[in-house]
Amino acid sequence: MAIYDARRRSNGIWLALCYASAAFGLGWLVIILATLLWRGFGGLSLVVFTQNTPPPDESGGLLNAIVGSLIMTGLGVGIGTPLGLLAGTYMAEYGRHSKLTFVVRFINDILLSAPSIVIGLFVYQVMVTRMGHFSGIAGAVALAVIVVPVVVRTTEDMLLLVPGPLREAASALGLPRSTVIRRVAYKAARAGLITGVLLAVARVSGETAPLLFTALNNQFFSTNLNEPMASLPAIIFQFAMSPYAAWQSLAWSGALIITFAVLGLSIFARVLGARGGTR
């Protein structure tokens, strides 16, 4: 009977620890979101969206940073998505069992979790030193390099979920392979593909490290891709590390904006993915 009690006791203790770890993990999410709302919401007003970043200890907004982030994220996703989509298509459709696909998948998975600061150094070497100055376009390229593996991964996964008979039926009608892929496979996997792109947007819109020495930063409003460009994460970094209270408060507002944009995007992507019948 003693053994039986001991087993029951150890079962109870370990399972209680599992419950505790789940509460611990979710607790951080709650604490972080609560802090963001508490510290960031007060500073949030229309001014944040309509005025540029101020000099120290003056009031202002984050307009140039928001615009810069939108431009570079849009451009980065615009460059990275087609490349990732095509590469994923090759892996799932043409070369499903080839050696190349195996290698690309392995390398892609490594790129997917490679430190983003190293991507920044890469683009610095390739673009910034060649051009001689920091620029918005270099920032966009750095983000594109981060977008590619995300899109490759989801594209391949989603196309592999499309049932084979669907493709065979289209091929039996005499359609060429490329038409089968574009008109049948893409269409069947559409929700999943869009989910992948949305997740990529969510991933890069908070990226800071690769922008620090590609797009640098800019205190003024600029849409010139050939010049240094402001971005929300870079401004948050600069303002939060500064000793000025007004800047720190703006940093919190920026953090609130980014977090809710990213969380909103990922929730939307998941809802869309679930409705498409894929996960």
């Binding site: 079962n11 505790a20 770890s21 993990g25 510290r39 298509t89 090759y90 979790s113 574009r182």
Partner: protein, 330 residues
């Protein structure tokens, strides 16, 4: 009669010609699309190749100047142009170790909770919440760590820690005061919170691959839930769990912004875990744009190269382990 024959002959010829034309167009379009997708796939390989080559190219001046000594020297002096990577490597390894020490058991616990204990109706929402935690940008963890978490630790956690270990040999060195708030330990804690969702999500996915039959067999011979977890689920998924842990480690090693905010950015090897230090990624993020002189820049790029090589191997091992489990699961 002859007219008709000629007529139908032309029709047949026209038909064949049109069909050949269409087929050719199909073939061309097909070939183009195939080539396009193939070159995109190769481009992914080229990106990785480009990263490695450009990092090596950029760090050449530093490699030539310091050679192997770069890895074992802790000198970091922009004034005399003397650089060594040891203090950054030390900081990276120590903060990651602290993070994994906390995140691995808790993450696996969450994985077990989600697969074995959680009521069905809560499984998906809690799973999504964990994934959202993974999606929060690292700069948010940084600003939160600097303004909320570090002051909290400084006032309520570190003084107790110092007092607790002040009489214990070795540990009183590791936890020597004063409590700065920011420092190696705080950076490790922040990393733990960031890595936790990755370990949890992968543990859950991996535990899900265990065939129900095995678990039911365990129950059938009278195992408690914990015994099923300990004796059936974990042995079956060991490779996958290790893969997930390595994946989390890869994240922790390369994490930049969150660490930069709370590590304190001191280019030294601190004797106490409570003192400020630096990591590879924090040093790059902090000093790169202010680096004057080719050797300074080059030394920072070499730091990046070292970080990339370390994470490359960690991630490669992780993928290899996860692949082995996938093959086992069919």
């Amino acid at each position: 009669m002859a007219d008709i024959a000629v007529e139908s002959g032309r029709v047949a010829y026209d038909d064949a010609a049109r069909r050949a034309r269409v087929l050719n167009a199909f073939r061309l379009r097909d070939g183009t699309f195939h080539a396009l997708t193939l070159s995109a796939a190769i481009a992914v390989l080229l990106i990785l190749g480009g990263v490695i080559i450009s990092l090596i190219e950029g760090s050449m001046p530093a490699i030539k100047a310091f050679g192997f000594g770069f890895l074992v020297s802790s000198a970091w002096n922009p004034v005399t142009d003397q650089y060594g990577a040891l203090s950054a490597i030390y900081g990276t390894l120590v903060t990651s170790a602290i993070a994994m020490l906390i995140a691995v058991p808790v993450g696996i616990g969450i994985g077990i909770f989600l697969t074995e204990l959680c009521p069905d109706i809560l499984r998906r929402p809690i799973g999504i919440a964990v994934e959202l935690l993974a999606g929060i940008p690292s700069i948010i963890y940084g600003i939160w760590g600097l303004f909320v978490f570090a002051p909290f630790l400084q006032q309520h956690f570190q003084p107790g820690l110092i007092a607790l270990f002040s009489k214990v040999p070795v540990l009183n060195m590791l936890f020597a005061g004063p409590p700065y708030g920011i420092g190696m330990l705080t950076a490790g804690f922040i990393l733990a919170i960031m890595v936790l969702p990755f370990v949890a999500a992968i543990s859950r996915d991996v535990f899900d691959t265990v065939p129900p039959l095995l678990k039911e067999a365990g129950r059938g011979i009278g195992c408690t839930t914990w015994e099923v977890v300990r004796k059936v689920i974990i042995p079956y998924t060991r490779v996958g769990v290790i893969g997930g842990v390595m994946l989390g480690l890869g994240r922790a090693l390369g994490e930049t912004m969150a660490v930069t905010f709370v590590i304190g950015n001191a280019d030294v090897i601190p004797h106490s875990l409570l003192a400020p230090g630096t990591t590879i990624s924090a040093a790059i993020a902090n000093e790169f744009t202010e680096a004057v002189g080719d050797l300074y820049t080059s030394a920072l790029i070499e730091l990046g190269l070292i970080l990339f090589v370390i994470t490359f191997f960690v991630l490669a091992i992780a993928r290899f382990m996860l692949m082995r489990l996938e093959r086992k699961a069919g």
